[in-house]
């Protein structure tokens, strides 16, 4: 998704840190490319998720392409009617494999995307584990979206139907995988030729219980991908956007006119500062 056309007037812009979590489930091609790069087998949960993110960031899905790994985080703007949200999308970098996700990964994350595979029931179990982990480790106000990916492998994801209207620009292919599916969850399980193993109803009722946003997507066709990010952007409270990354989630409020912003030092400005300042003695 690129920035919305027609956004002539500058809108306020906010950065949102979004973390990705999900089950380690990898396509064969991606796995073998990892092994050939000399990494441990059963690479990364990131690959399941990254296809979703790449669809969002580049509007791109290439089955046989080695996914972009190796970024500290990817950035993507999402334009809302009143403001622009710049997502900083962080992946686990495989650190979850040996229980080594660092506290800094969760620190000040305002949103989380927990991805499972609608064709793998175990991946929803794993997703529930990550939701519990987020509730334990992340900021209390974090917006969590539960996303069932690989909708294209199910019967309700194979063909296109009417797109849900959203504020964001239209996608070339969009399914109403979410709302439509939610009402017919039961029947889908038994449809022949359908790879779906996790019913929409099961996942969405879990999401309701835990207060999560819920979507089913296809990174391959692009179904619902933009909607997920738009919904997250809309769900983040205005107050946490104003304070930005530093203040969000710490439960702190600025008192006495002293805000955290005043004390921050930007290392990136160092060369400029050195030229101006020099030694004080």
């Amino acid at each position: 998704m690129s920035e919305s056309a027609g956004a002539n007037a500058p809108k306020p812009s906010s950065s949102v840190k979004l973390v990705l979590l999900g089950e380690a489930a990898v396509g064969k091609v991606q796995l073998s490319s990892q092994v050939s790069r000399g990494l441990v087998a059963d690479e990364l949960s990131f690959y399941l998720q990254s296809s979703l993110v790449l669809r969002f960031v580049n509007d791109d899905f290439q089955e046989n392409k080695e996914p972009t790994i190796g970024a500290a985080f990817l950035t993507q703007k999402c334009s809302l009617p009143t403001r622009t949200i710049k997502f900083e999308i962080w992946d686990t970098a495989g650190q979850e494999r040996f229980a080594s996700l660092a506290p800094m990964y969760y620190r000040n994350a305002q949103a989380a995307l927990v991805v499972y595979d609608v064709t793998k029931p175990s991946s929803l179990t794993k997703a529930k584990h990550w939701v519990a982990e987020l509730q334990r480790q992340a900021s209390p106000g974090i917006v969590i979206a539960l996303v069932g990916n690989k909708l294209d492998l199910t019967n309700d994801g194979g063909d296109t139907s009417a797109a849900t209207a959203t504020e964001s620009e239209s996608e070339p292919v969009r399914d109403d995988g979410e709302e439509g599916a939610a009402e017919e969850g039961e029947e889908q399980d038994t449809t022949p030729g359908d790879a779906r193993k996790v019913s929409t109803r099961e996942a969405s009722s879990y999401a309701d219980e835990e207060g999560l946003l819920f979507f089913e997507t296809s990174a391959k066709t692009g179904t619902n991908v933009v909607d997920v990010f738009t919904a997250i952007a809309n769900a983040i409270p205005e107050s946490s956007l104003k304070t930005g990354r530093g203040g969000a989630g710490t439960g702190q409020t600025a008192l006495g006119g002293r805000s955290a912003e005043d004390s921050r030092v930007n290392l990136g400005d160092r060369s400029a500062a050195t030229a101006k300042e020099g030694c004080a003695c």
Binding site: R37, G38, L39, V40, D42, V57, T68, I69, G70, A71, A72, F73, L74, T75, A93, G94, Q95, R97, F98, A99, S100, A102, P103, M104, Y105, R107, Q137, G246, T250, G251, Q252, T253, L255, R258, A260, D262, S263, R264, V265, N266, L267, G268, D269, R270, A273, T274, E277, G278, C279, A280, C281
Partner: protein, 535 residues
């Protein structure tokens, strides 16, 4: 959890202290297969930072496994503050928080949730000209970090001015002048003292060439003697200049050759990154956050990171007759066997390897206090950032222990992210191990709190003794070679500021691992990764 068994690695890094994590960062784009292990279930080793609950777990672990880490004698104290008596004696307690009086609304200051705190075991700051800052910038990882400014230095004095209008704690602390303007503006220093101080500041801010060759022999004298004989610096200023060196020895035990370059570093750092400050603190636990970012960079580059897995045993099987591609055989505490071309860790991570033991010990304390000590965080230069940290030095004689080394307290405001608003974290250190040191630390914190006023109460505290190196204790800051493929970093510096020699050691280790495959001038110089530079 996945298995590490039967895999081979180019390098296994044991321990996630900042030294090892910087090595992991340095190797993150090397294409090497890196396995980064830590026997602890948390990141950071001696540089870790904890929530209150994690601190409790750490204390239990330290006391259960003596000799497995550089720490010993760790204790946590929780405090109850009934409304009528603001400062009650501490009770050692396994549970956190204080009990609420039934029926009455609780307006007493109290601890926030465990995770609102990030308490650092080794809370050192970085001088703005530190080689580490250059590395964080050239490797681009600084984008994931936030830094706040270090403010003033203060000296504890026993004699508060009788008609003092000073607010709060500044009643018993004198601010140490950090530059010429400060010296002129200072109201505590006599005109005569100001002149001698200016002469000294001018002298040490000159380059070595300008000073000629006459400095060498004088610098072997104690710092105090050097100042008084060469510059006639009066007694009341000795402590101030001593504090700028952050020497943890007394003025008499600190050689000038140690202190002078450190005072120079202090003075030349001020203003080098922006007006009014010479040091920075990484938010959310200092070094802990930096090392987590470094470990992540290695993982992003394809390295594997595993916590709660240590090395059980290892041996380097290469002989002169037979070349092995993966000569180091390791048994991990998870029961798995792995092989590697190189292994590097700290003393605590490499069992069975001979090591020279740590040479120094300090007593340390971490105290959560219900006050923000506003008067100790002034903005002293126009355009300077609001300081988030300040350094307090208590000369031994001001604590009725003239022979003892000075006590340093470093206060972190909530802007460091270490604690919630309207609270502070006081990190204390004194080069006197065990109960003697802890008594001095407690005394220093007490003085500070009494001066600040009754609203300043201790909410939580932790004490421990740490072993490591002090720069002037004769230990060397070099990589130790155990066998052709097994190396170790020396034990951690106990300095209050980051020790730049570590960068040299990390580069040494990196050079051994990458060999001649890369240009050594490219150490830690990385381009932005795709997708991250869009600002």
């Amino acid at each position: 959890m996945e298995s590490l068994a039967d895999t081979t690695w180019d390098v296994i890094i044991a321990g996630t202290g900042l030294s090892q994590s910087l090595l992991a960062l340095a190797l993150s784009r090397s294409g090497k297969k890196v396995l980064h292990l830590d026997q602890n279930p948390h990141y950071g080793g001696p540089d870790a930072a904890f929530s209150l609950e994690e601190a409790q777990e750490w204390v239990t672990s330290v006391n259960q496994h003596p000799g497995r880490s550089p720490f010993e004698d760790a204790k946590i104290f929780t405090y109850q503050h009934p409304p009528e008596s603001p400062r009650s004696p501490p009770s050692q307690n396994d549970s956190e928080g204080s009990e609420r009086m039934p029926g009455t609304p609780d307006i007493r200051p109290k601890l926030a949730a465990s995770r609102a705190y990030t308490l650092s075991l080794s809370p050192y700051f970085l001088y703005t000209r530190s080689a580490l800052i250059s590395i964080l910038i050239s490797s681009k990882v600084y984008r994931q970090l936030e830094f706040v400014a270090l403010g003033s230095w203060w000296i504890h004095t026993c004699t508060p001015a009788p008609e003092s209008e000073e607010l709060g704690a500044t009643n018993i602390f004198h601010r140490v002048p950090g530059n010429r303007e400060d010296v002129f503006a200072d109201t505590h220093i006599s005109m005569k003292s100001k002149r001698t101080l200016m002469r000294f500041l001018r002298h040490i801010s000159k380059s070595e060439d300008e000073n000629g060759g006459d400095t060498a022999e004088e610098l072997s004298a104690p710092f105090g003697e050097y100042l008084s004989t060469k510059f006639s610096v009066p007694g009341d200023l000795l402590h101030a200049l001593h504090s700028l060196s952050l020497s943890q020895q007394s003025t008499q035990d600190t050689p000038a050759e140690y202190a002078v370059p450190r005072v120079q570093r202090h003075l030349s750092s001020i203003g080098s990154m922006g007006p009014g400050f010479g040091g920075v603190v990484s938010k959310y636990g200092g070094a802990s956050e930096i090392l987590q970012v470094a470990c992540r960079a290695c993982a992003v580059g394809g390295g594997a990171v595993a916590l709660a897995i240590g090395i059980q045993s290892l041996k380097d099987i290469e002989t002169t007759t037979e070349k092995e591609e993966y000569p180091v055989q390791l048994e991990l505490t998870s029961g798995e066997s792995v092989r590697s071309k190189f292994v590097i860790g700290s003393h605590w991570d490499l069992p069975g390897q001979e090591q020279s033991p740590p040479t120094s010990q300090v007593a340390r304390s971490i105290t959560v206090v219900s006050s923000s000590f506003m008067s100790l965080f002034p903005i002293t230069t126009e355009g300077a950032p609001l300081p988030a940290s300040t350094v307090l030095m208590f000369p031994g004689d001001t604590l009725s222990h003239p022979q003892s080394p000075p006590v340093y307290l470093q206060i972190h405001s909530s802007d460091t992210g270490d604690c919630p608003r309207q609270q502070s974290v006081i990190y204390g250190s004194v080069a006197l191990p065990g109960s003697e040191g802890h008594t001095l630390l407690e005394c220093a914190v007490d003085r500070l709190l009494h001066a600040e006023g009754p609203q300043a109460m201790v909410l939580w505290s932790m004490r421990y003794t740490q072993s490591g190196r002090l720069r002037n204790d004769g230990s060397s800051a070099t990589i130790h070679k155990h066998s052709p493929h097994v190396f170790s970093f020396p034990s951690s510096s106990l300095d209050l500021t980051w020790e730049d020699e570590v960068v040299d050691m990390v580069k040494q280790a990196w050079t051994k691992i990458v060999g001649d495959e890369v240009d050594h001038d490219d150490f830690m110089i990385f381009d932005d990764r795709e997708g991250t530079s869009d600002d």
